[in-house]
Every structure is written in C-alpha cells, then in structure tokens.
Symmetry: C2
Subunit: 103 residues, 2 copies
C-alpha cells in the first residue's frame, strides 16, 4: 500500500494522468491544460510516470522534435481507479451538502 | 482530484484504513498492528480520518475509558477503492517480474 501510494503520489501525478486521459498529448499541450504547474515540475512528473510505465513517451524525428505522451494500459487501469476516487469524493464531499446542518 | 488526494494523503491514512478494515478496533489494537507508526502520528491521523467521516469513533464510559474505531460507509467505500489500487499494484509491479529483462 505504501509503495502504491508512493508511485501515485498526491499532488501532481493524478492531475497529469487525468489530463492525458485517453488522449495523446504533447508536452506543451499538457502544460497548457494544467495551467498552474511549472515546466520543471511537469518535466519531472512525466519522467517518473514514464519510468513507472504509467505514461508512454514517443519521440518523432522532426524539427523541432515532437514528443507525445499517452497513457499505457497500466496507466489507463490507474485512470479508472482515479475516476472512482473522484466519484467517491463527489458522493460524500458534495460542497452543497452541509456536513452538519444548522438546527 | 487534488482535494481527493489531499483527503486520503499518502503515507499513513491508507494503512490506517486498511488496518481497521471491516473490524472495530481500539487505539492500542490499531497501534499494535501497524507497528512502525508513532502514537502521536496515529492519534493525528485518526483525528483527521474522524473529521473527514471516514472513521467513526465511539467512546465507552469505562475506566479506563474505552474508545473504538470503525470505518464509516464512506470509509468502506474508500477501502474498496484502495483494494483496487493494491490489485493494480500487484498486477503491474510484481517484484518477481523484471521490468527490463536482461538479454
């Protein structure tokens, strides 16, 4: 469990996985969609996700070099679980449903 | 997503949730089962899990006071997702399956 959570991390990786989703995106596209991430952090997170075989990186011999990122089968399986976490969160943490109703 | 992951955290909460599982346990029982956690950290983590309504805390008027912890419905739903994460991890990160086989 500790190892699983360490692989996923908390802050950025789930967001990067969500952003790529079932699409194939270039670095700049991922960067533009996440908005509040720095290029340095996104580069690091993508590198680790590629190392963990959650994201596949493909280089194309063009000038400037084109690099595309896609979720692997392992990544898509993880995306499905992250989707369930989001549903879980929506179900129980609906901001419009007050935790303790005022009497 | 960020909020979901912040609620779950990485290090201890999934372990505490797993340890309680479908059981009802006293603080000392959870503490003994996790082994490597400090009492201070376990106290904090349980407090946050109770605040987030993932764990229910019940006090019994005995001397010394008995306090029991059980997963709520929300907690059990989360436990199921954590179980899927463990299966995901086992499927893809089998330590006996080398990532890059030596030629």
């Amino acid at each position: 469990m500790t190892r699983t959570m360490a692989t996923i991390g908390t802050k950025w990786k789930p967001i990067v996985i969500y952003t790529i989703g079932l699409k194939t995106l270039r670095f700049g596209e991922i960067f533009a969609r996440i908005e509040i991430i720095s290029k340095k952090v996104l580069t690091e997170q993508l590198k680790e996700l590629v190392e963990d075989e959650i994201v596949a990186r493909e280089e194309f011999n063009e000038t400037p070099m084109r690099v595309e990122y896609t979720l692997t089968e392992k990544g898509i399986d993880l995306l499905k679980i992250l989707n369930q976490l989001t549903l879980w969160n929506r179900k129980y943490n609906d901001p419009y449903r007050k935790r303790k109703p005022t009497p």
